[in-house]
Amino acid sequence: MPSYASFLIRRLFQSFLIVVGIVIINFVVLNIPPGDMADVMAGTAGGGDPGYADALREEFGLDEPITIQFVNYMTSLLRLDLGYSFTRNMPVMQAIMDRLGATLLLMSTAILLAFVLGVLMGMIAGKNAGKPLDAVISVLALIGYATPLFWLGLLLILLFTINLGWLPSGGMKTIGMRGPWWQQWLDIGEHLILPAFTLAVFYLAIFARLMRSSVIEVAGQDFVRTARAKGMTEGRVYLRHVTANAMLPVLTMLGLQIGGMLGGSVVVETIFSWPGLGRMTYDAIFARDVNLLLGVLFMSSVCVVVTNLLVDLLYSWIDPRIGLNG
C-alpha cells in the first residue's frame, strides 16, 4: 500500500517529465525551419527587428553546439524566463500575467456554465432515456458541437447586440464608467454573458452527452435498486445516489478540457474584444511575434499539467476506491 506522499511525489515527477517533453517539442519546432532559432523567434521573415535576433543569438548562445543550446533553452524556460516580446515591449511572462486575470474570469465562468447546464441536461436526458425529451436534448447536443465558436459568437452579437440591443458587443467594461463597486461588477457581468456562453456551448454539449450515458449506467446499478427498495422517492434517488456518482466521469472530462478551452478562448476573445490571453494571442499572430506565442503555448501547457494533477488528487480524495497506484 503506497503512502499518499509517495503517490504525490510520483505524480509530481510524471508532471515534470511532461513539462520537459513540451520544452523539447518547442525546441525541435524552433529548429526545423531554415535559419536559426533566433530568426524564427524574432519573426524576421515577417519583417521583425534584426537587432533583436542578434540579441537572442547572444542570449541562447546560438554559436555553441546544439546540445548546449538546448540546455540553455531548457534552463531559461524552467526558470519561467520566457524571453522578451518585441511587439509588447515587455518580458513575455509579464505580458502573460497582465492578461491572465481576464482569461481566468472568462474561462471559469464558461466552465461553470458548461458544467452546471451540461450535467443538468444530461441528467434529464438520462432519466428520460428513449423518450422525446431525451431526443430533443440529444439533438441540441449534436448541434452544440457542430457549431463553430466564431460563428456562434457572431450570431449572438447579431441577435443580442445589433437587433435587440440588450447586451454590449465587446470589451470587458464600459469605457468611462463611474460608480460604486457593485455597479462596476454588474457592468463586467453584462460584458461577460455572451463570450462565456459562446465558449461554453461546445463543452456543454460534451458534458451533457457524457452525463447522459453515465446516468443511464449508474441508474442500473445495485445500490440504486437498494435505495428504491427501501422506499426512497424517485427524486431523492436521482439527487442523492445517481447524480453524485454519475458526475465523476464528467469531472475527469472537465480536467481534460482545459487545454481545448484555452484554444477556444483565442477565437472567442478575438470576436468579443475581451482583453485576455486569447486576444493577445490573436495580436501576436497578426504581428508574427513567435516568442510571445511560444510563451503562451508553454504557459497554457503548464496550466493543463497542473489542472490534470489537481483533478487526479481531487479524484482520489472523492472516490477512495480509486487506488493511489492508478
Binding site: I22, A45, V266, R288
Partner: protein, 286 residues
Amino acid sequence: MTDAAVTVATETPLRRRKRPRAVFISGIAMLALIALAALTAGLFWPAGPWVAAGEPYTPPMTAPGLPLGTDVLGRDVAAMLAYGARVSMLIGIASTLAAAILGIVIGATAGYARGWVDDALMRFTEVFQTIPSFMFVIVLVVIFTPTIATITLAIAVVSWPPVARLVRAEFLSLSSREFVQSCRLIGMHPARIVFAEILPNCFSSVIVVSSVMVATAVLVEAGLSFLGLGDPNTASWGGMVANGKAVIRSSPYLSIIPGFAIFVLVLCINVVGEGLNDRLNPRMRN
C-alpha cells in the same frame, strides 16, 4: 478537443438509443452533395473565386445568377463557398489520413513491442495530448507559414494521439487472442502477423475514431482561417466569416452563409460518424 469528441462519439450507451437509419443516409447524401459542389466548382466558375461578379454587397436572391449575393469586393459568394468546400474537405480528410497513419504506426509499435518501447511511446503520446492542441496548431502554422500543406500537417501533428492509444489497446488485447497465438505457433513471420492478422482487425475502430477527427479538423481549419491563418491563395469558409465580420451590421449574410456551411459540413460528418459507430464499433455489434 479531439479527445473529447472521440470519447463522446464512441461511447457505448447501455440502453442503446436506436439512431434512425434515415438520418445516417441523409448525412451521407448531404456530404456527397458538398463533395460534388467542391469537385465541380471549376466547371461552374472557371475563373476562380476571386473575380468580381457583380455590384459589391448584393444581397442574396436579388440579382440573377448570384443566388447568394456578392461580398465586399463584388465577388460571388456561391463561387467562394464552392471553392471553400474544397479546402475544408481536403484539409479535413488529408490531415485525418496523416494522423491515422501516424497513430497506427506509433500505436502498433507500442502495442506489439510492449516493455520499455511501449512505455516510452506512451509518455511521448501523453506529452502531445497535454499541449493545448489549437494553440499548438497556431504556433506551428505561424512558424511554418500558412499553406494548405503546413495546415494539414499541423492538424495531423495534434490529432494522432487518440488513434495511437486506440491501436495500442487493440494490439494489446488482440495479440493475446487465440487466433494470433495459433499464428505464432505455426511459425508465421511477425510482420505477417501484424499486417495480415492484427491490423485488419483494428480498422473498424480506427475508422470510427477517424470520422470524428475529420469533423474536428474541419473546425480547426475554419478557426485558423478565421484568425487569418488560412492559405492566402485559396478561398476558405473561416476566412469568409472573418471578412464578413467587419460588415456584420450592414450585410450580416456575409458571415451567416459561410458559417452555416461549416456548421452543416461538421454536423453531417458527426452524424455519419455516429452511424458508422453504430454499425462498425465492435463493442456495439450484438
